[in-house]
Symmetry: C2
Subunit: 243 residues, 2 copies
């Protein structure tokens, strides 16, 4: 059966995450319901699951169908049905062996922190407000310990016995205009809540509660209680899926 790829973006604020779940509104649930109506699609494959409240600037889904598909029309119809919170901005026919999940080579996430004494009503949906001053250099130094292949058990919410080995290609904290700090992390894949756990850990370092070198010890411990906490979801954006 012909196989298609969808590129989409969403505002995760009002979704219970990406993955389909009975009884609650999810991005996958909305998307598959629309695809089922238009093209008799039963199920979709996805590049990266996101948690409740997490956004995506770029997410990729794939599916198969025997129905005749006009790609431009399909993207437009889907956006009408699932928008404005979800936008399907591209649809294309792909090779039979393409999988949104398994063909992806890397995922890039960004996390934004508003770092100043008072919050910003205009950015409250896309940045975590941390009012005490953060040392962004120390935060950047800390996250360098995560680059490479490491066991991220200390930074994963649940492993259920599955491997928590992951490869991080790059990680950086930088300052941006208007009191924003931005974290960007690129990896082959991530385990559950890993980016938000690393962000929360970075903030501990930025506040001076931990030294940057503590990142190495936390990794080494392979114990979730060593790096407790997760940054709130609304500051996190799945930024790009690379193939």
């Amino acid at each position: 059966m012909p196989r298609y790829r969808l590129d989409l973006a969403y505002d995760g604020s009002h979704f219970h995450g990406y993955a389909r779940q009975p009884g609650v509104r999810t991005v996958q649930g909305d998307l598959e319901a629309a695809l089922h109506k238009i093209a008799a699609v039963m199920t979709t494959d996805i590049a990266g699951r996101t948690d409740a409240g997490v956004h995506a600037r770029h997410q990729v889904a794939s599916f198969v169908t025997d129905e005749p598909i006009d790609c431009v029309k399909l993207a437009r119809s889907l956006t009408k049905m699932v928008g404005p919170e979800v936008v399907v901005y591209r649809c294309e026919l792909v090779a039979d062996d393409f999988s949104a999940r398994f063909s992806a080579t890397h995922r890039v996430y960004r996390y934004r922190i508003l770092n100043r004494p008072f919050p910003d009503p205009l950015r409250r949906g896309m940045a975590w407000h941390v009012k005490d001053p953060l040392d962004v250099r120390a935060m950047h130094e800390a996250v360098q310990h995560f680059v490479g292949e490491n066991d991220f058990a200390s930074f994963c919410r649940q492993s259920n016995g599955k491997t928590t080995l992951r490869t991080v290609v790059s990680a950086s904290w930088c300052t941006r205009p208007d009191d924003l700090l931005r974290f960007e992390i690129k990896g082959v894949a991530f385990c559950h809540q890993m980016v938000r756990a690393i962000t929360a850990f970075s903030v501990e370092v930025g506040l001076g509660k931990l030294e940057p070198i503590a990142a190495a010890a936390a990794l080494e411990a392979r114990d979730r209680s060593m790096a407790n906490g997760a940054a709130p979801p609304h500051g996190l954006v799945l930024w790009e899926i690379c193939y």
Copy 2:
């Protein structure tokens, strides 16, 4: 009586504008209700009214009261009462002759357009989506005609016989990262819907429907029908009040 100044920001999405109106939610209504409870304030003066849906990164209000005021506490209490959509980030005692409205020397507004074929769910509350490509150089050229003292009758929603003479200090369109176009205009004061009318006119020029020089003719006509339309409110931000 002692006089105080408040500096605030707000997300205008769910307000019927800044100015108090009976029966609907407004920024001034919420703010004055909170000030009345805390400090027996009856009324506030304001630097610049904004329409329904328009945001403010910087707005200034002033009021008088005999109640003893701890400025730091007052700002914090107000933000708790009117937040998260409104944030009062500073309160200070000012001279008796200070007026948020009349002491302001200039107002700066910014308008953002997302210019690409598909919308962005993450920026739908703060940028107008225009899908056809815009010629930003032509738009910039057009708005230069508005700089100086001019009669903006063609760009004001209602004048009710009042003067529509206004002084614009600077106006510029530029491109920003991620497919954004940004308009910034600084003036002594603006008439009703003037920035949104100029933005809509700029877009006509950007689409090639009008030449930049048409701005001069539209001004000259002093007739609202010469420059019909107004850009949607959600792309507009009252950026700064200068004293």
